[in-house]
Subunit: 355 residues, 4 copies
Amino acid sequence: MSSPRARDLGITVGRGVPGPSNTITDVAGVRVGHRTVIERDDGDPKAVRTGVTVIMPHEGFPWSEPVYAGTHILNGYGELIGINSIREWGILESPIVLTSSLLIGKAYDATVRWIARQDGDAGESVMPCVTECDDSWLSNVLADPIDDEDVWAALEAVTTDPVEEGCVGSGTGMQCFDFKGGIGSASRILDGDQGGFTVGVLVMTNHGDREDLLIDGVRVGERLSDLMPDDHHEGSCIVVVATDAPLLPHQLKRIATRVSLGIGRMGGKGENSSGDIFIAFSTANAHAAADTGVAHLTMIPNGRINPLFYATTQATEEAMLNAMLQAETMTGANFARVYALPVDRLMAAMKKYGR
Amino acid sequence: MSSPRARDLGITVGRGVPGPSNTITDVAGVRVGHRTVIERDDGDPKAVRTGVTVIMPHEGFPWSEPVYAGTHILNGYGELIGINSIREWGILESPIVLTSSLLIGKAYDATVRWIARQDGDAGESVMPCVTECDDSWLSNVLADPIDDEDVWAALEAVTTDPVEEGCVGSGTGMQCFDFKGGIGSASRILDGDQGGFTVGVLVMTNHGDREDLLIDGVRVGERLSDLMPDDHHEGSCIVVVATDAPLLPHQLKRIATRVSLGIGRMGGKGENSSGDIFIAFSTANAHAAADTGVAHLTMIPNGRINPLFYATTQATEEAMLNAMLQAETMTGANFARVYALPVDRLMAAMKKYGR
Amino acid sequence: MSSPRARDLGITVGRGVPGPSNTITDVAGVRVGHRTVIERDDGDPKAVRTGVTVIMPHEGFPWSEPVYAGTHILNGYGELIGINSIREWGILESPIVLTSSLLIGKAYDATVRWIARQDGDAGESVMPCVTECDDSWLSNVLADPIDDEDVWAALEAVTTDPVEEGCVGSGTGMQCFDFKGGIGSASRILDGDQGGFTVGVLVMTNHGDREDLLIDGVRVGERLSDLMPDDHHEGSCIVVVATDAPLLPHQLKRIATRVSLGIGRMGGKGENSSGDIFIAFSTANAHAAADTGVAHLTMIPNGRINPLFYATTQATEEAMLNAMLQAETMTGANFARVYALPVDRLMAAMKKYGR
Amino acid sequence: MSSPRARDLGITVGRGVPGPSNTITDVAGVRVGHRTVIERDDGDPKAVRTGVTVIMPHEGFPWSEPVYAGTHILNGYGELIGINSIREWGILESPIVLTSSLLIGKAYDATVRWIARQDGDAGESVMPCVTECDDSWLSNVLADPIDDEDVWAALEAVTTDPVEEGCVGSGTGMQCFDFKGGIGSASRILDGDQGGFTVGVLVMTNHGDREDLLIDGVRVGERLSDLMPDDHHEGSCIVVVATDAPLLPHQLKRIATRVSLGIGRMGGKGENSSGDIFIAFSTANAHAAADTGVAHLTMIPNGRINPLFYATTQATEEAMLNAMLQAETMTGANFARVYALPVDRLMAAMKKYGR
């Protein structure tokens, strides 16, 4: 895509330094795959604008080498299948599969089958991690829009390449502050004296009221009151944070909690009908969680965690902004239309406010 | 079935008084439906011993008249799709669908379609509540054992009749303390001066180590060390508590927490691989949760909640015992066999210990 | 005080409308009292700069008429004595007493005695709610700086008058983003079609890194890098939200959760050593929580809660800003000094960025 | 004391093997100290029957070498000052101080002073961990019954000797199922193939209804309906679990959760006005939690945790029984009297039921 990302426009969030691709795959081993499903013409009542996105936490199979993980929920009107075992065992032992709200059953089922094909034993016992936002505004969710092959395609497509953003994968039909949104990503690399760790964030946006939108603190939403969809649609926001810093489960829960601050900075309010669900995992100690004897592991003490908090908050905000900037105007079922954030008008507003 | 229930054998749990059917449907309006799926001969590698059970919280549709609800997890290695919204909004707005672990995706998907058929608007937005235990010991879970019609059959079968127990519905392939288990139920009616409220419990058992089994405090498990399955299989335990007492969401969470005490009394320990997940809901105030103005509701103050705690703990223990007593020896895939609790030997043990 | 508040400077936070005094006492019946304890000259090693602030949730005694309440913790390295019973029973049955970290034992003890004087029975059973930030930077905390009379003075001083802000009461020795902070307050009144409810916030600030400070989105902290204290001191942030909207305990927990968004908007990050602890209570239904029969109450359905979320986030941000603007440069023990935010330089920065 | 403990009477709880002293100090390094405060004659309205008990998690100072810890609350109408930081940081960095409900302020204050005397820096920043049950039935709690020296005496008295039980320390005025209770303890040692770890439990009992009391499953309470106090007094139950098994904070939370099962087995129900608060800590990895670089630590994987769950549940039940058996009939203020469990009648009941 030729659309600019936030940094291409000179918009930086906070004082941190991004990694080489400024996406979640800057965390070594993390892989992301998309399957975009677009069917029928704009306006067709049965038009489908949806998809599946998969995050594989490292180069191997997470069910044989689970990673430590933690979660936080800002507002819980949404689903994350697998959340109980993350909280109980402190580990993530499945890929994270993102899709449309009503498709999580199908995505779960297809992921079980795919895992069973890779590893029969795991296929009988793994509970895949599946989460969602609602794209029913643009996409006919009752049209049976995905099948097993779509989920498997996303699972097979995972790559350590820079993450494709905007209207791709599970983000295809999503919005953000009443503009078009979808998948976004960003990363931060800590200074050497802070450990040199990498923090990467991937967001699937679908939340926010236009008039509340802040970009780097500028009240952009108030100045861009046109280009509204026919109806405001209160959605969700799924955020996945990856890091190579050796953090224990209770520390990863703390990291996930800081995602809320990034949402607050952009004008989100954890709306009543939103599923604002956050997962953080660490690629360090992957061997330890699965060990059968006494496992040996490493840990960053709490006293060194602040830079990781700050990196998480910043990268969340920048990832949401990238989701909007990389998305394009889309027309879906019944001529519902969600407009892309107009870059020229955004930049005019930023300039007016001294940025 | 002609098998006795606990009270038929003179085994009472605690001092409380059961309702007319001594099942969860003693709570006015609560409906339960089963779909039992048994396919192929005993021992066939593709034999299926599974099913679906549905609890409808009242006579109407919960998505138009949600009920207050709360949850507690003793051990979280299991799934309850819908748990986030119960915790966030304090309400249950879906039937509770119980099935086999790997089938929750299909059950979710089928339930979405069924709700859409009843009510198109709800079908686009309701997140059904689906939970599970693992019956892979007796049933070939990768054999694609249920389809939409099975789930719909359970949804259509709901009735206020006394609950059928043992190897039925989602309990078909489940066990309990290495004996055969499944679905069990019990109820309690409070004295008039305690408000006269009814508490009903439905359990789907799949947990426990034989040697730990206590029945009314007697160490029955130690005395019945034969009739073991080929392999111990650590499962889960789902417990649903219904009441007509007007309790708010935070109070229903307190009720759900007391289920743990009943599990403790029977010798359970919240095993590491178990999904011990509990939901409590109140049929009172159903109109209030959905109201769009200022809702008027009623509540039992905390100071009057102890009898409801005690009823919950007792009914949980008795329901688990009923699940075992009503179940029959079953042979499943690959000749795996789980034996029923032998009533004569149980009664001999009880007699020896003065009951 | 003659220092300006945020609105006096034309700085508004969000689109909401404040109440008459733009403090927490705009919520009818809420009372606030301060006791400021300043002893010895600037620089004296035994100088004391501390105090006590009390919030009484309504005109009566909360132990005979408790109010519904909920809590949220952004970062838990701090104390709120009484949090367990708020979470379990869903009610606040004590005044909220704020003071210095090491003084919570004394404040608890003195509050017990004071309650016993008002009401002997309550004095034997009430567990007062006491919370804290650390003012050891400016104040000699080991100098035994307060006694029972100081706590009682704050308890007796409660009034429905507009809240005094800045270096008063428990806020006396506190800071904010390395500037002087203390007590701040703000309020919002919802439109009539949103129910016309009032939301009031009182903050005790002691958190934040200068370089992260945002004011109405402007990166003020980066531009005001001088006037730093000798050492950065990572503190806490206590936020109390009051409303007359009839919200149940689980809804008040949701309100408390939105405080994090306000902290995020101002550049806070929930620092590792911070106690960022939030309480929300509703003055509606005060009779219901204490009732001994079946209580009758009212409730705003979840679908109407968004304006209350937004009011909470906005009022939190504005209250923190007021705490800074109303505070004055202070010199404490050992010549430690914390500077007030310079209004002229703040306004220059705001102007440069188009405000 | 010459009173028998449970095992002296042939009452064993579960199949596990106790350690040498069958108390919490079987966990290497754990130290316990008591200060018993008994003042004035039986019946004097100002009679005091109270005290302080301290648990020091290892041989050193926990603020320089904190230990991993986790908590669980069965019913939260009680106080544990310090719970927020245990949950946030996953560590215990203070002795655990147990006392009477209204004395926690004084105990906190005295502990701050004591720590400051040992270590000035810690004294300015440590938040001591203080918890309580209510002994106001036997003791005049408003008589100002303890001072700093009493708390310091308990802090100084800590020893690795077997724990003294019954009416000692903070257990002095406590009860249990309407019999006299107080402090009790027990331990379990795992088999070598389970790691050979030790689990120790210390309880301060003050909960339970007589008629619900179960001892090793026998309904003893129903058979001992006399010897009742003048009035039933609903209290609390504090349980501390120590282990040398290398468990992370999220695993210690899981351990603490299993205490509920032991309470359930004995007939407790988590009464409405009870503070049933449980803390678990591990003496392993004490260096790691305080490390300033990347810490190296060890961990038992979740798959090996079941024997520790079982040991916790058993030792909790046995410790509560020891608290009752070691306590003696006590008469306190205003001739309130709580009777000891009569051993002869207990044994007659046990015999009747085949034990």
